[in-house]
Symmetry: C2
Subunit: 189 residues, 2 copies
């Protein structure tokens, strides 16, 4: 299935009938907090699976960040299959456990300083986009801020500061070149 920028894929509270795999593009899952802020739970890039939940309702909403093609699989079919095929069951379990790992790293991120958050984010995206030199971020500053639990201003300032220290370069606002990965890792630590 094809989705355009900001298209809703599913909404919080909706019945979780499907599993999804990103073929191209990028997806964010998020929740709107009572004070109106939006917290992003995760970003999904090509190859990633999302929509896995125990409860039969989605806990977060999902939206396409950019033009995306998403593979959609009926959940009940997969669960039925898993009941018969231990290999599928194992796969299902592995995907859930991977999501758990990612969630845990994200949780550990959220208790750190703004600098550390941004540094970790850049390293994570560098890996996941398998960027050698420059990377083109699919998400806006607002998305990054909501993922890291910061304001857009703090993200912007932190990036500017990293640029000033020549740790990164910002040819355009979406394109980031990591000049000094070691310095980022030090912040990351």
């Amino acid at each position: 299935m094809a989705f355009s920028r900001d298209d809703e894929i599913y909404s919080e509270g909706e019945v979780a009938d499907y599993l999804y795999k990103v073929e191209s593009g990028a997806v964010r899952t998020y929740k709107i907090l009572s004070d109106g802020r939006r917290q992003i739970g995760a970003f999904y890039l090509p190859g990633d699976v999302f929509g896995l939940e125990v409860s039969d309702e989605h806990q977060l909403s999902a939206e396409a960040i950019s033009e995306s093609t998403i593979l959609v699989v009926k959940r009940s079919a997969l669960i039925a299959l898993a009941a018969r095929d231990p290999g599928v069951a194992r796969q299902l379990w592995m995907f859930t456990a991977q999501a758990l790992d990612r969630m845990q790293s994200h949780m550990l991120l959220l208790v750190r300083s703004a600098q550390e958050k941004v540094a970790c984010f850049l390293l994570e995206m560098g890996e996941r986009l398998s960027a050698t030199e420059a990377m083109e971020l699919p998400m806006s500053r607002q998305d990054i801020a909501d993922y890291l639990g910061l304001t857009i201003e703090t993200v912007s300032r932190t990036l500017t500061m990293l640029q000033t220290k020549s740790t990164i370069a910002l040819p355009t606002s979406r394109r980031i070149v990591v000049r000094n990965r070691a310095a980022l890792r030090r912040l990351n630590a």
Copy 2:
């Protein structure tokens, strides 16, 4: 198996050979951050299962918070069993997915204000300890602080403030009476 206060159950990086179920007492899993702070990943109370990981290494360390008895199950045995018995596989998946849900709530907690964090924590513990009136917390202020990503002072001040507003009462530092659950829920929101 029996563990005393602050006994290590397993350590980060150790091979994850076992799964654990709390029979009595309480357990915390945690990670020491580079700056020396300790982030608690989760608390486990009687009935809870922990030690589930995809990777064969533990990502966090686990310690008994108080005198505890823990049921220990060989991981490989359970995984082998799951390969033959779809029911067990499903159980295993459910536990992992439940951990994912908990982790997600915890993540959402960490981006909120100190007041909201403490209020959520009290509600969560109230439910999990199935406390009708008063509850006896198994963990110290430091544990709470490290769980919520706050300092011990902020936790203490917030509790004092809630007491001043008569939302809670603190007969002793470990015993908490929720006087006005609705007010907590409002903060929680």
